[in-house]
Symmetry: D2
């Protein structure tokens, strides 16, 4: 039977690559993001071009009741959730002195609070069923706080702490929790346009990242990975 | 001239030990916590017994305008702030499945958001003046997410990410930022009462921790510590 | 053209699973270990059963001239080396007070020094050619020193330090260096026999680990992993 | 009664600062290094200028029998050892491809093997007596392998693995093991001469580091630190 996957935070770039990879492996994918139109187009493409199916589910993942409805909608359409990718979040790219309280809070809300709300809904399906996989998109700032990005660093650390706690709680219940540390800039359409002569091999190819996400989903339950890092060969680190 | 210190999150236990140590070294200490009466008594004791002075400043550190007023009050009483200890915070000791969204948010708010609000106010004094020190009280769950403590782990990671980001932003501005990883249970009056035969040397003595906090304050600016761990000799880790 | 792989430290268990997986993906595999007879049998099996080929190369990897000859032999048989797995090493499972200097040194020699000697020979082929992959088998004791295993912990840390240094030196030269942290006991034939009622899902299946090693080999050069951990779902950590 | 300390690896710079600080706190200090003359002069100075005393013990710390004799000499002169600082070691500052096997081995031998030999001798006194302290001088390359320093990185990781293992083995026996991560260049006499206009506050002052080493010695056994980092305020990291 086809697996049901949710990608929370889909946009052109990594979110889309993950959705496409998972659908091409036969998953039915619930696409969560705020933007209605883009999601609809992507769902149509995945439906037409891949072995799986997709449903556009416009959602503000920082709103608990919207998250609840979104998961309800996915369940009705495709059945219980087997895989969740917490990929949303951003903001908070200023130093302590320049950050407002709102900016600091918003970064946490979109990164960590949204991932908490989505995980809570997805994991109940997995624990009640045959297990599943939850993958978090992390960043270098999740393992090494960056000067000048107080809100983002704090929020990304918060995500990693949540992921580790969930891994220890839920592994024995059959839920594989993983945290991917993306170290570098992803080659989104925007990045490609603004690259301005910078060589493409200095960016992470989002399709290549999606391959590793799928590998995490496919890992045998006797050899699960909690954390891996991903970076271009040429990245200094 | 006497240094001005703020301890945000003072209660019987480590907060009180830090305040007492700093006052005994001659600091004038602003005591932040919600509880009016306890703070007043402690301020009286420190005034009477130590080389420094103390002011009780009842404050909800998760409320931005209260934090602003509290720092104003400290400045008027003792002058610009030289040292801040972000010691408040707790909660979130349940697994993902048992945590409510409110509980998850409250843990973050008391640990990370409050520390952000206090740091922002304190640091402006330090950067404009002769520098200073900001110490964060961390926990093992700040470096290793604990199963069954989703909210607490995520919140304590968030604090550590903030501390690291601030250290990189503010070090060159003369502000020493440090994060202490407390690994074990502190011998508070409550812990002592409930110890129930458990040997006292399995707890961290709060006065001993305060010695290391003071050492951080006194470090020369050519050899600053960002992170240290503290645990009893007998603790398994 | 078929890739050439070397597995340094082949024995029943993970080494054999890696060799078999790589050969089944079409690699020609050089098998390094001290034991002549076992290697010959395994090489025969891989030759007969897989898409690739294999050569038994009895070698003491802690002896520089033997290592040099072994790589010469592999190059003559299969061509320049594309993939190296540094899998050998062990020993040093006693505390500081019980360890002899010899035991401490032997653990380092078989884990770190052997990996250095093999890496040096393999990497020259990779840098001169189209790049390649070097994978190190690590352990939990490579990231968290274990009480009562002074020699092993120190040796496994030494391996990880070498891997990280090599990753930074050689990534831009097209060589992907990775370090796998194996957290738990591998289900070798010996472990299976001695399991004594212990459930098999508490062990790591070596074939499952080999899948992740192969994923590392196949990663796109814009999204390389330096480190991943691997453990059974049920492992406490 | 005066404590007996051993500083293994004394030279102008940090080793000397540690010896002087410890002697000025009343310790009797055994000075280990290869260079006869320098040690004798330093011992004379410490004897004349500090509250404690000092003995020059010319020793090759990578030679087991010399280490044994050196500790025997210290015991006869000052009594059982209470504090050991493993401060020796270096070398290995080239990339994998440029490193010879000898260079790789020498770095390990002077950093890790020597520390093992010294620790083994010192710790027996501590466990049999009233406990004690063992401090290891680490480097950034002990926690983050540096490209182009394969031998040094591997050796410094090996030291850290040994320190962590010893901390877990020996903490409950009353021995405090600590690892200091020195992040930056120390202002030795040589560094001062070659500074060439570089501001002194970009170096670590060795006397300032020695203050933190002494703090580690003085920590209460309910609040011991295993690891701390030390760097100049202005250091980027």
């Amino acid at each position: 039977m086809a697996r049901t996957a949710v990608v929370a935070g889909v946009g052109p770039g990594l979110g889309e690559s993950i959705a496409r990879k998972f659908a091409s492996e036969g998953c039915n994918v619930g696409l969560f993001a705020r933007s209605d139109e883009y999601l609809g187009e992507l769902a149509g493409e995945l439906h037409a071009e891949t072995a799986g199916d997709a449903a556009a589910v416009p959602t503000d993942i920082t709103d608990e009741s919207q998250v609840e409805s979104a998961f309800e909608r996915v369940r009705e359409t495709f059945g219980p959730v087997d895989v969740l990718v917490n990929h949303a979040g951003g903001g908070g790219w200023s130093g302590l002195r320049e950050s407002s309280a709102e900016e600091f809070e918003d970064a946490w809300r979109s990164c960590a609070y949204g991932a908490f709300l989505c995980s809570k809904r997805a994991v109940s399906d997995m624990v009640d069923g045959d297990g599943g996989t939850v993958i978090f998109t992390g960043a270098t700032s999740a393992v090494r706080g960056r000067g000048g990005a107080a809100g983002f660093s704090s929020a990304k650390f918060a995500v990693r702490g949540l992921a580790e706690s969930m891994a220890r709680e839920l592994g024995p219940k059959g839920v594989h929790v993983a945290h991917a540390v993306i170290d570098g800039q992803i080659l989104t359409p925007d990045a490609r346009e603004q690259a301005d002569g910078r060589s493409e091999d200095t960016f992470l190819d989002p399709d290549a990242i999606a391959e590793s996400y799928w590998h995490l989903v496919e890992q045998d339950r006797t050899a699960w990975t909690l954390e891996l890092d991903l970076r271009p060969a040429v990245e200094e680190f």
